[in-house]
């Protein structure tokens, strides 16, 4: 195909010209909006990052985001402790143990798909009804973590499943051929090469957890204090941003919180993407 005929046909054919313009325009618009959004938060937020925002204790004077950063890490770790074994176990069952066309497997798949479509506010409502009220855990870190654990479960299942599927069958056959049992094959032969894919999924899940607000307001509550007790209420960084902005008094602090939140989430997602890309390249 040479450029000359292309240009000629474009002049003679307004449809092609218009469509080319629209396609480039749409892509430019999307990229522009993305850039504008990130640039705006950075430009307005970075100058507001003051040292007082990172003081150990939160009070209405310094509006420190430090406690919520610590509690975000706490809640993320707790959520992962609950959800990763379940998600990886489920994926191992689906890819390694379940027989094809099994009814139970189809139901499990359907359930995971349903979970991934449920919006966070419904998770929040459920967490409030089940963990907070029915189990009487009150507004607590544990209730919030359990709610989030269910929320990111399908994500971990899907990424682990894909990672396990990408391990060639010859690995399994070789392992069986050497006399290893199923369990040993899964744990020693299949899981290690699948690890990067699983880690990429877990990091993506961490991104979701850190950015989540709606599922946490009525499950983990909004208390801005560092605590080690999982039965106490705490706020994560995203909830902190919501609280600041709702009060309407601390706009510049909300901007600063937004910068930290945005950078953390973007970094997590970029890391996850980079790992996933390395895997596909390595194949």
């Amino acid at each position: 195909m040479n450029g000359n005929t292309q240009k000629k046909s474009l002049r003679a054919d307004p449809f092609s010209l218009v469509m080319r313009g629209l396609v480039w325009g749409a892509a430019l618009l999307t990229a522009g909006v993305l850039l504008a959004l990130i640039a705006y938060i950075l430009i307005r937020g970075v100058p507001n990052l003051k040292l007082s925002l990172f003081e150990l204790e939160y009070n209405s004077e310094n509006v420190s985001m430090f406690p919520s950063i610590v509690m975000t890490i706490y809640m993320t770790v707790l959520t992962l402790i609950i959800t990763t074994p379940l998600g990886i176990g489920c994926a191992i069952y689906l890819t390694e143990y379940a027989k094809r066309g099994n009814k139970v497997v189809e139901i499990i798949r359907l359930a995971a798909e349903t979970l991934s479509g449920i919006p966070s506010i419904v998770y929040g409502l459920f967490g409030m009804l089940f963990f907070v009220t029915a189990l009487q855990w009150k507004n607590s870190i544990l209730a919030g973590s359990c709610t989030l654990a269910i929320m990111v479960l399908p994500l971990i299942i899907r990424s682990t499943e894909e990672a396990l599927k990408s391990v060639p069958d010859s690995y399994r056959e070789a392992s069986f051929g050497l006399g290893a049992g199923k369990l040993r094959t899964v744990m020693r032969v299949v899981l290690p090469p699948a690890m990067p894919g699983i880690v990429a999924g877990v990091i993506l899940a961490v991104g979701r957890i850190v950015g989540e607000t709606a599922a946490l307001i009525y499950t983990a509550g909004t208390v801005a204090k560092i605590t080690a007790n999982p039965m106490e209420s705490a706020r994560t960084l995203a909830v902190h941003m919501y609280a600041l902005s709702s009060e309407g008094l601390h706009t510049s602090e909300a901007f600063a919180t937004g910068v930290v939140l945005l950078l953390v989430v973007l970094m997590l997602n970029a890391t996850s993407n980079a790992i996933a890309k390395r895997i596909t390249k390595g194949k």
Partner: protein, 319 residues
């Protein structure tokens, strides 16, 4: 193979057993039995982990719908779904969520009107127009767009979009129109990634055939490839609907939140999601239950959309 091994070893175990019941503990300690037991045990453990998602879905359905049913029983289904007055704290309270249902539908529809054309065109760009070096940058960038937390989108809407709309359009900026723009942006990554995958799945021969018949690049793409990827693109749009209708935190500072049917697109609206988040903090008794019921209605919408998405995806796989 496993079975053969355990059988031959099992034979020895039987021998031992015959030698005396006294040796029973030795049976449990024997490596073959332990290995077999461990295998079975771990399979059961993995199966239980796999059932966690079924359990979660069941619990969510039970708690949300049961909570909703309690409110509907008291208010009445027609009154609850069809009532246009939402005055939960008045002396003579009325609980009609019709404005919120319509609010969710209006906001979703508008966001799609903005997001779908831009999203599909961008997907076409990514799949068929984008130079390779640019694609390497744009693809992860658009994936980042999906990762930005909705609270940050909401804050951006509050600080940028609301003042902009206030300046150029009637009303105070907290409007359905503002919500359309913001959610139109938010739905882009979903539509782009799924549509691009669908467009890339179309066999190259379609495009080549069109070119051979003398079509231009644009005509070949829009007259052969896009129609062939139709059901995949539609699946992306349906998934986008699910995302938008469940969006909460991006909306609370943007859409105005007045619980009434809007007269113009520059009026404020309240969606089902914001209704829950705004009032749950102080609601008690029947008011609280009607909020849960609002969640149940939203959940029903989501389940319907999910089912539609599953059907579309299956149809695409068959093709």
């Amino acid at each position: 193979m496993n079975k053969v091994m355990s059988k031959s070893k099992g034979g020895k175990e039987m021998e031992k057993m015959r030698r005396g019941i006294k040796d029973l503990p030795a049976l449990f300690r024997s490596p073959a039995f332990r290995k077999n037991f461990k295998e079975k045990l771990m399979e059961v453990v993995f199966f239980i982990a796999a059932c966690a998602s079924i359990l979660s879905v069941t619990l969510i359905c039970i708690f949300i719908f049961q909570g909703g049913w309690n409110a509907v029983k008291e208010v009445g289904l027609a009154e609850f779904l069809g009532g246009t007055k939402w005055k939960p704290t008045a002396d003579n309270p009325s609980f009609g969520i019709f404005p919120m249902i319509m609010g969710s539908i209006y906001v979703t529809g508008g966001a799609l009107i903005i997001g779908v054309p831009i999203g599909i065109l961008t997907a076409v760009f990514m799949a068929r127009f984008c130079p390779k070096w640019l694609h390497r940058w744009l693809k992860p960038a658009f994936e980042l767009l999906a990762g930005i937390p909705s609270i940050v989108y909401g804050f951006f809407g509050l600080m940028v979009l609301v003042p902009l709309v206030r300046q150029f359009f009637p009303g105070d900026g907290n409007s359905m129109f503002t919500a359309w723009i913001l959610l139109g942006i938010m739905v882009l990554p979903t539509i782009i990634s799924i549509s691009e995958a669908a467009l890339r799945a179309v066999p190259e021969s379609y495009y080549e055939g069109a070119l051979a018949l003398g079509a231009s690049h644009e005509r070949a793409v829009f007259k052969t490839i896009v129609p062939a990827a139709k059901s995949g693109i539609l699946a992306g749009v349906v998934l986008g609907i699910g995302r938008v209708i469940g969006e909460t935190m991006a909306l609370i500072w943007v859409c105005g939140n007045q619980p009434r049917l809007p007269d113009s697109i520059f009026d404020g609206v309240r969606t089902m999601t914001t209704n829950i988040v705004l009032e749950m903090g102080y609601a008690t008794g029947l008011h609280r239950q009607t909020l849960i019921a609002t969640g149940a209605v939203l959940f029903a919408f989501i389940l319907l959309i999910n089912a539609l998405f599953a059907v579309l995806k299956r149809k695409e796989l068959k093709q």
